[in-house]
Symmetry: C2
Subunit: 270 residues, 2 copies
Amino acid sequence: MTTRQLTEQIKKKQSFLCIGLDVDLNKIPKHLLTEEDPIFAFNKAIIDATHHLCVAYKPNTAFYEAHGLKGWKALEKTMMYLNVKHPEIFTIADAKRGDIGNTSAMYAKAFFEDLSFDSVTVAPYMGKDSVEPFLAFDNKHTIVLALTSNKGAFDFQTKTVEGKELYKQVLEISKSWKNARNLMYVVGATKAEYLTEIRDIVPDAFLLVPGVGAQGGSLKAVCKYGMTKDIGLLINSSRGIIYASNTMNFAEKAAEKAAELQSEMASLLP
Amino acid sequence: MTTRQLTEQIKKKQSFLCIGLDVDLNKIPKHLLTEEDPIFAFNKAIIDATHHLCVAYKPNTAFYEAHGLKGWKALEKTMMYLNVKHPEIFTIADAKRGDIGNTSAMYAKAFFEDLSFDSVTVAPYMGKDSVEPFLAFDNKHTIVLALTSNKGAFDFQTKTVEGKELYKQVLEISKSWKNARNLMYVVGATKAEYLTEIRDIVPDAFLLVPGVGAQGGSLKAVCKYGMTKDIGLLINSSRGIIYASNTMNFAEKAAEKAAELQSEMASLLP
């Protein structure tokens, strides 16, 4: 999917919501545990109930890997379902990968080709040659961790490196990488006030913003400081939506939560 | 496995060699491709031929994920084989993971419990709360990327942060994390001259050292600047050993290459 198509979807649906599919068997409704594939059954119900309210889904790979073969199979089935039933949806593998060149190329193949994700999150610590193999794929997007929403973000990301915070160096330096047009960035909503300066460095790039809701960030502030003429924002919510209820009507309750966010987003769109 | 047991194995085998199981179907001998599980068949042959010459194996998870379900199954089988046949071997999941707390906990479970690895590599960019969930496991080891062996290491890792290079900040700050005794670090052999200063910060920690051989680092220099009284080094070689030959006797040729390194290591041990 191109960023232009993504922007079109956002305008059409009046939503820039991304729903995080972080499926934890301890948190999903008990009645699903007797299904052959409880993780997929949960995802399918959530997707069926919410796909018209969001433009993206983001499975975090950790939650699937934690179940070994079964988890990997559930991820494959979820992606197959999304690609066949909802090709208009932007998909994000929240994998936070990053390795030396030939190894990053293997990860890129796994997520972009085998699983057909539109995008994947990557960690910048190993630098240019760990990220460029991902950038080589046309119409696929590489979402670099810049400023994350956790407390540990202050351990290194906000430290000053040659006169500028590390996360700003990441933004700045990554712009010179080959096929940098395929870059997006993770910027936590808990730090919305940082967005003005971030937009000075990457005025047009799409930002994937976690931390609205559960982690306390404000949607309004993120839009005020981060929105571009092509919107340029994907706001992620995971637990706040998918675990809104763990009763029989969990999907309906998830849709209610998603609709609340979508409606707030519609009011913030130009 | 405890670090004490690891040191005992090193002294017993006169080797601190780690063999990287980065299995690429384009590089393994053609005759294995007709096997039911070519990746496992390759790993088994390499392990059978080299286990007495090394103390550790390090599958890089990218090479398994690139094959989806089949790859994951091959990784499970490889770990099962190692744990049953060679419990004295130290196993490293070269996964370079790192995510917010509850997600890192899922990864830790996947690698330490489900796959029974002794250790896993993690990226430090997201800070303390992304690494501590791994450190919470007793007798399991968390190997933090400090200074990697690729060119991109100079993009951020060697930049000066508050008067000290970023990788030194990572070493220094990580020492204050909970259960820091379970930390090890990745330090590339291509930068052996950095080891003196690294040992000033982490005098006792085990270092996993890639980049000897293929990437041009010198074993002698690494030992000179990095060895501790408990050895404290694991030297990784992947391609140089496992792809020494792609003929019928590939395992024998791999053992010859491993034996060369082991013999050089024996001469460098106290």
